[in-house]
Amino acid sequence: MTSRIPLLAVFFAISGYGVLAWWHLSSLLARPHYQFIVVLPFLVLALLRTRAEERQPPGNFRWAPLIVLLLTGSSLLLVLATWAWSPWIAMLSGLVTSFCVIWLLTGWDGLPRWMPAWLMCWILLPPPFGWDERLTVALRGVTTRATSSLLELFGTLHLSYMNVIQVPQKSLFIADACSGVHSLFVLLAASLFLALWFRRSALHTILLLIATVGIVLVENITRLVVIVLGLSWRMDLSIGVNHTFLGLMLFLGSAVLIASTDQLLVFFLPQHDPRAQQAHSQTGDSIAKEPPRWLQLAAATFSLAFACCGLVQWWTMPGSLPDLTQSFKSVPDLKVLGQKGMPVKLQEFSQVDYSLIQRVLGDPFGQQSQQWVYARGSLMAQISIDYPYDGMHDATECYAETGWTIDQAEILNWTGASGSEAQAPFGDETVEPLAVVRMSRALEGSVLLVFSQLDRDGVALAGFKHRSAGPRVVDAQRRLDSLVRRPPTTQKSSVRPPLLQVQMLARSAEPFTEEDVDRLLKFYVDFRQQSRRQLVDHSVSGTASQLAATRSDFVTP
């Protein structure tokens, strides 16, 4: 029976978790700060290799009921994950099941060899309830404030608000990449690997992980301070190769600092010889050499349950399996239209300015923006084509992070062609969504924001990410719901990335009247039509009405 257990384990893994694990990996790889997981198999192999000499025959199968309890729990989690289509819960269940499988293979005596590799695998499980997102926001806030204080100390005149640091030469938005969230997760994983590789104590590992957070903060504050100081020396390190080089240097510096911190901790924390401990443990009496018979039968029963879950997952899977390599594929370049790419007069507005803005990869305002400014009397409309986006994008988030208060947000379904020479892509009956937002900021007054995205087929999409303005309990409830609620993925599967965003920020010296808003919306729709005609290939002849936006289209778990 023991010899069949590895087969069972493989069967569990493939049949019970295959589909959901694939989806989980796909969603992890879609997020830049988790893409380092591609090196996980090598790390696991390296850790197993360091413990190769500790290989010993299976033994010590005490506390079998605990394993049954764990198996029961993980199978229930898998059922829940299958029912709610939650890859995250499936991954949690998978990690618990893998522990049980290892136990069945080696008993408690074999765990020291497997445990580091198993612990390393926990990096596959991101924090639940969007805590990583909250961490990102918190890191951005801390980084911005600390950078601002340091710049004051160095006498560099600047303005900082929310996640923006503005100097006379440039306005720097602290994007995810700059907030440290990318390097934080990578460096935390590196610290964990370092601690496991060198068999550091639990206290040492925890202190090293805490120090890593501090090091990452120092790294990112340094990056921003250097960029700002560079700007005052007419050296733009905020984009391009310079930015990448600076990031790489600082990342390497952080890695060196982690190694240095590890040595410092080794110096201060007395280190016991793990081999002596191992020898001590070996003197203990090992009892059973294989798991109890009833437990083996129970495991076999669980394997059937997992197999059933796997079948159900395959059956109820929304769409086809996602492409794991999608995030690594290069994005096609967008044609630069230039100042004359858009009409000098559009609707009742006249073009007054044009600029091409380049940003860092992953910037929420888009890596590239082609921006035109149109005016009509006291109305001023700054309209841009931002590119690229992997999926639907809620522009209000970017503005909220730069200090704007969202006063009112709604999705309008615009029917038919906009007027003038614009042609609707799907005929006059087309209903296309656009997000209309009224927002305000101290010293800026009220503005009107209109945005929507166009996919590669020219289909327009617009939506808002759920934002809870209520108490934390409500927020937690919503996040819990999102964890177990099946997302409406049928719509997602119809969208062909990369998307471009057409975004208009309108301002006026006088409060907006209804006529102003109507005029601006017509102008926006006309502009969107013009950009669609020039930038998108019409290869699809379907209707866009099936893609009418909803408020819950892209809630992240």
Partner: protein, 515 residues
Amino acid sequence: MNKIVSKYFRRATRSLRWLLHQLMAWLFWPIWLTHHLVLKLGRSLRFWWRRRKLQQLLCGLPALAVAGTATYLVVAAANQDHSQIASRYQRAAKAAMERRDFTSAMLFLQRLIELQPGNRDTLFDLARAAENKGDYPRMASAMRTLAPEDHPVHGPSHLWQATRLLSQKPATPKNLKLAESHLFHALTLQESTAVAHDLLGQMYFQLGLWSQAVQHLNASPDRSHQLMLAKAYSLAGQGAKGRSAGEQARDYFSREAAAHPQNFKLRLDWAESCLFLEQYPEAIRVLQDALTLDNQPIIRQALARCYVTWADSLQEANPAQRQKKFELLAAGMQVYPDELALYDRLLKMLETGEETSELARQFLLTNIVEGRAAGLSHLILGSYDYLSNRADEARLHMELAFESLPNADVVANNLAWLMIHIEPPQAERALNLIDPVVKRNPTLPRFLDTRGHILLKLQRPRDAVRDLEQAVTSLKDNASTHEALSAAYSQLGLRDLAAKHLEASKSLSENVQRK
């Protein structure tokens, strides 16, 4: 019995000992714990001392150095003096405003507002920087906070709003009302009251509200408005006070002109004060002195106007006065021949048909012969010939005037007018002549009226109506404008309007004939 007693005694002793032991344990457990911890710590330290490796500490030095630096920077940053930071931003904002770098100025001012929330002066500076940068929405947003219409908040902002409203063209009643309320708010706040009084005085003066203008101009400490005050007094029927204020103005400007000899504007104001006091020779002397210092056209024009004003003040009852009048106008023509008022007065003099009429005619002809102000002389003679129904001579003079003064708007206007009133009419050429003139003076009703007539001749009634309607708002008493409008509306098929204008034209003509 003894055995039983000793047994119980032993038990009691044991219990007592146990109790005492427990009591001691409870009483001394902190000492025991401390002792235990000290021992443990000692063992740990001994263990650490045996196993420590200096090499590891050396490897950890970079981390220690970074941690130390970070701690120092955190402490230093936390203990920065905010008032010093604020003054640094204040200086930077001021410097940026001075070098007209409004983007930087706005940035520094916004930071200053963050550091000193509620500082209205900074917000006001931000609004001004935004205006200069062309960021009107932001400027309006700041101004809505600083200078609301319904209650006073920040004096300089109310003044600024009032100034903006007053400088808008055309001045609408709504804007004037708003400006007035902002100025009153500034007075309520007792900030910049002098400027507020000044602005209110000027506004009331422009509106013809003389007594209110007097009240505010009197409250203004700015002596440069003394002349306006004098005029306001005079127009309000307080001649004596007006004269007194006029004298004060004259003295003020004479003093200032002496102190600043190169400032010709002061001399112009001084001359104007003299004119107000009807001290014409004094005014002419002041301007002639100014001309010797700086031969600017504006001074020459002022001098020509001075001659015209003096000439206008003379009675035409006796020939000596008429002679004097002609001499003054001739002197004006010598100084600044392009002054339209001279053209107007000389033409009138020619029309009178009295002895000075011939004198004027001879003077103009001499001018042409001697090549002095030939253009204007041709214009006056041409206009006179046209009014005397000598179209051919008029045309010749006008053509010659246009050759001499191709950029003179009046010449082009009169020639264009003549072109459509000769036989055969040359409307196309007339339009070519008048179009640049209207382009240069898009609001002058005289030129619009001429172009309206020309367009009517060209059978373009819709365009003609556009010009004539604009012209008639200022030329309400001009019969020919109403007549042209009537013809235009008639061509457009609007008979009611055509009839109304025809009626107005007839009534105006009858009034003229009656006079």
